[in-house]
């Protein structure tokens, strides 16, 4: 746990998040979530994990191992400076402590001593600085560039202490050190095949591109050694055959975001470990007709039956989403308008002109099911919606260029409330709805400069309520995501309270 923290850091220190936030917002766990932590660890064996996509690079800068799905790979060969605890709170892993200045602009982070990369080189404060500098360099092509640009300067105070000076105060700074920036790779050495080196409990054994990547246990790991001798990730992109691979014992654990598989798992004698960590939303383009009119946005918001979406798309699993503060957030959620057809019809009448628009979505089956259901709901209140499916790349471009009327977006962004609310400020490059609201700007900026969780939560609550009232984004559902495993795999923690799923395979073991 963090130590030597001033009172203002209670906000970001791990323990505080537990006591202040979660008790009031515990609606999100799915019925499928289980834990396999209750037996005596057994060392040895090879844990085989089926992923839904290919890992193309093991460099944290490349982004291939830092999505929620693939972070399990990163946690095998790297340590993160900070990670998420069982209740979704940020806790140190490679770091030992974090201390912000009173103005939350300067953060002093101490890392564990005697940490080494897998080649024996020390992972010290300079290695941390070098890693982050590499990712700040545009040549690294890291998608974390915007986050990294918030760091104005870094200095090595001693061999285990780094002082970060931010360009603006940010109470949520530590959450930036949970992904690319936090997985420290050596910048001075690589393995014989040019793969980066990490400091995690496993070291790369074999990278069969397109097929699998396997890791062997490190004998000289600085922390608690992994249980399995080997961890192998297999790239199994097809949802159905990945599940069948688990049924036939070809793998021990699979990643899935398909609700029907969570319901099927019990019947097949399998265990599910999931969290509602992916939020489905509809982003309005508030800068062009018809959704430059707030009443048009509110009409759509009122016409969408989120419970029906939960049943139709998610097989009833997960929970409805009530705004930018997620159900597992440490901050209190805000009031979200109830499904109300009459109100929607009234708003449509107040808009005057017929509301007709195009709904842009990616081509995943769940997105298409959702779009079809919403189309019918809107038709019932006199709104015409055309559906425009795009492949993920064209969808991304539409999002970035704001080339849409309304856009379907499922994201794990809302697992990090501090980061998510910042995207609604008018200057954020991720302000996809284009909402410009001085109240939101003021509240979020002030919250980022505020230490205590309760005060920050109040400011975030005000901003979130404005975002919901202004209907910048229609929030639909929080969807289950996570793992399904055989009964032989143990050591997987309860994920049901997680905002973002981060698990460490070193803690798993096989009990066959």
């Amino acid at each position: 746990m963090l130590k030597s923290l001033p009172k203002t850091l209670v906000a970001v220190a791990a323990a505080a998040t537990l006591s202040l936030g979660l008790a009031s917002c515990a609606s999100g766990s799915t019925e499928t979530t289980e834990t396999s932590a209750s037996s005596t660890p057994v060392d040895g064996g090879n844990i085989r994990i089926g992923l839904d996509r290919e890992v193309s690079s093991l460099d944290p800068a490349a982004g291939s191992i830092v999505s929620q799905t693939t972070m399990v790979v990163a946690y095998t060969m790297y340590d993160a400076l900070f990670t998420y605890g069982d209740s979704g709170e940020i806790v140190p892993q490679l770091a030992e402590s974090a201390m912000p200045s009173d103005d939350l602009k300067t953060w002093t982070i101490t890392i564990h001593p005697d940490v080494t990369f897998s080649n024996g080189d020390p992972l010290d404060s300079q290695a941390v600085i070098n890693h982050i500098k590499r990712l700040q360099d545009p040549a690294s092509k890291c998608a974390c560039a915007f986050d990294a640009s918030e760091i104005g300067a870094m200095a090595a105070v001693d061999s285990t202490t780094v002082e970060f000076t931010l360009n603006t105060p940010n109470s949520g700074f530590l959450s930036m050190l949970t992904r690319n920036l936090g997985f420290i790779a050596s910048d001075t050495a690589k393995d014989a095949n040019g793969n980066p080196l990490g400091s995690g409990p496993y070291v790369l054994d074999e990278f069969a591109k397109g097929t699998s990547v396997s890791f062997a246990k490190r004998d000289d790991y600085w922390g608690e050694a992994g249980h399995a001798d080997k961890v192998t990730f297999m790239f199994l992109p097809d949802t159905d055959s990945r599940y069948q691979s688990l049924v036939t014992d070809a793998v021990d654990l699979i990643w899935t975001e398909t609700p029907s598989q969570y319901t099927q798992a019990g019947a097949d004698g399998l265990l599910a470990f999931s969290a509602n960590s992916a939020t489905s939303t509809g982003v309005f383009n508030t800068q062009k007709p018809p959704f430059d009119n707030v009443k048009a946005r509110q009409a759509v918001q009122a016409a969408i039956d989120r419970d029906a979406l939960l049943n139709v798309v998610n097989s009833g699993l997960g929970s409805i989403s009530n705004g930018p503060i997620g159900s597992q957030s440490q901050y209190d959620q805000v009031e979200y308008p109830a499904f109300d057809k009459d109100k929607a019809k009234k708003l449509v009448a107040e808009v005057g002109d017929p509301i007709s628009f195009t709904y842009t979505l990616d081509n995943r089956p769940q997105s298409q099911q959702r779009a079809t259901a919403i189309q019918q709901m809107l038709k019932d209140v006199g709104i015409t919606m055309d559906i425009k499916p795009l492949d993920i790349s064209a969808w991304g471009q539409a999002l970035m260029k704001k080339d849409f009327d309304m856009l379907d977006m499922t994201t794990s962004l809302y697992g990090d409330t501090d980061g998510a609310l910042y995207t609604f400020t008018s200057t954020s490059p991720s302000n996809f709805s284009g909402l410009v609201n001085t109240e939101v700007d003021t509240d979020v900026t002030e919250a980022r400069a505020t230490g205590p969780v309760s005060e920050r939560g109040e400011l975030y609550g005000k901003a979130a309520q404005v975002i919901v009232d202004e209907a910048a984004i229609a929030f639909y559902t929080e969807n289950p995501a996570g793992f399904i495993g055989s009964t032989a795999i143990k050591g997987i923690p309860d994920l049901s309270k997680r905002n973002i799923i981060t698990v460490r395979p070193g803690q798993f073991w096989l009990d066959k």
Binding site: A143, A145, K209, G210, F235, D240, Q244, T248, L390, S393
Partner: protein, 316 residues
């Protein structure tokens, strides 16, 4: 023969040049900025500009194709935008996998189609013919991924004979390689077998009604010999054409089957590249697949001369 080679070679080069220029125009034609696909939605404008510059997106397709050819003849197919890996190295890993899959599927397809079609053609509308026709219609109407799932359920889930997914390289474990090869090859091969069988049966029925077959029959030649030694060769023109097209179109990879069975072949590479707008990889895959199609077409044309010597090319 020389004129044949000159004519076909010239046309092949023209086709490939056209394909190359069209392929190099893809970044401008396809919606979706590769910079966003690769760098993510939080990429800065500076990063996006740097990325575009690296990709030469401002150059016209003719210049880009010329540059590509100049590098390709030196064995450099470029570098993946998403992984920074050499595309030639990636092909060296993926192409043998796809070729093995294609070869195995063709062996299965021909191994099933030829004997069944011979038997069907000998007694058209007989019991065997009707059963085989029914099965081939089922296979033809079933999408590949459905057939694959059925095979997984049967051989992996119910019988536990074969793995549902995965791939073991031949050099690592030949037996393991065979086990991982069977289901994807069967999925591709069964569908091809239905097509080949229908075409061959139809041609055989026509051939078996020719006077030279009747003459052979009247001389007392055994049915098996008539079918294999007399009727099969002149009836195989359509089959050879279909096999050539089947192989050629598979060199670029079968995305559905490779995805379903997690086979690390060209199809998976192409699919990932398309989704990530990894244009150097897309361009290389399209051009290699294009070369395969052109080459197979030439080989098919050549094979006609051996199947039926009356068919000649060029001035003869």
């Amino acid at each position: 023969m020389t004129s044949f080679w000159l004519g076909r070679g010239g046309r092949a080069l023209a086709v490939l040049a056209l394909l190359g220029v069209f392929t190099m125009a893809l970044p401008q034609l396809i919606p979706g900025d590769p910079a966003i696909a690769v760098l993510g939605t939080q990429a800065t404008p500076e990063q996006i500009a740097l990325f575009h510059s690296k990709l030469d997106l401002d150059q016209n397709p003719f210049v880009r194709f010329g540059n590509w050819i100049a590098q390709a003849v030196q064995g450099n197919l470029g570098t993946s935008l998403t992984t920074d890996a050499s595309i030639a190295d990636e092909f060296a890993r993926r192409l043998p996998v796809t070729l093995q899959l294609v070869l195995a599927s063709q062996v299965i397809a021909l191994g099933l189609a030829i004997p069944v079609a011979l038997r069907q053609a000998w007694r058209p509308n007989g019991l065997m013919d009707r059963i085989a026709t029914g099965i081939s219609f089922v296979l033809l109407s079933m999408p590949g991924f459905v057939l694959g799932l059925v095979l997984i359920y049967l051989f992996a889930v119910r019988l536990s004979w074969l793995p549902a997914t995965g791939w073991v390289p031949f050099v690592e474990d030949p037996l393991g390689n065979l086990r991982t090869l069977v289901l994807p090859a069967l999925t591709l091969g069964l569908a091809e077998a239905a097509i080949y069988g229908r075409a061959l049966r139809s041609d055989l029925v026509t051939t078996l009604d020719q006077p030279f077959i009747h003459a052979a029959t009247s001389r007392g030649m055994r049915p098996g010999k008539i079918l294999v030694a007399r009727a099969f060769r002149p009836s195989s023109l359509s089959l050879v054409t279909l096999v050539g097209l089947g192989i050629a179109s598979s060199i670029g990879g079968s995305i559905l089957v490779e995805t379903l069975f997690a086979v690390p072949g060209m199809g998976r590479l192409a699919q990932g590249a398309i989704l990530a707008r990894d244009f150097p990889v897309i361009e290389a895959v399209v051009l290699v697949a294009g070369c395969a199609v052109v080459l197979m077409n030439i080989l098919v044309d050549l094979s006609y001369r051996f199947i039926d010597p009356r068919i000649t090319h060029g001035n003869n």
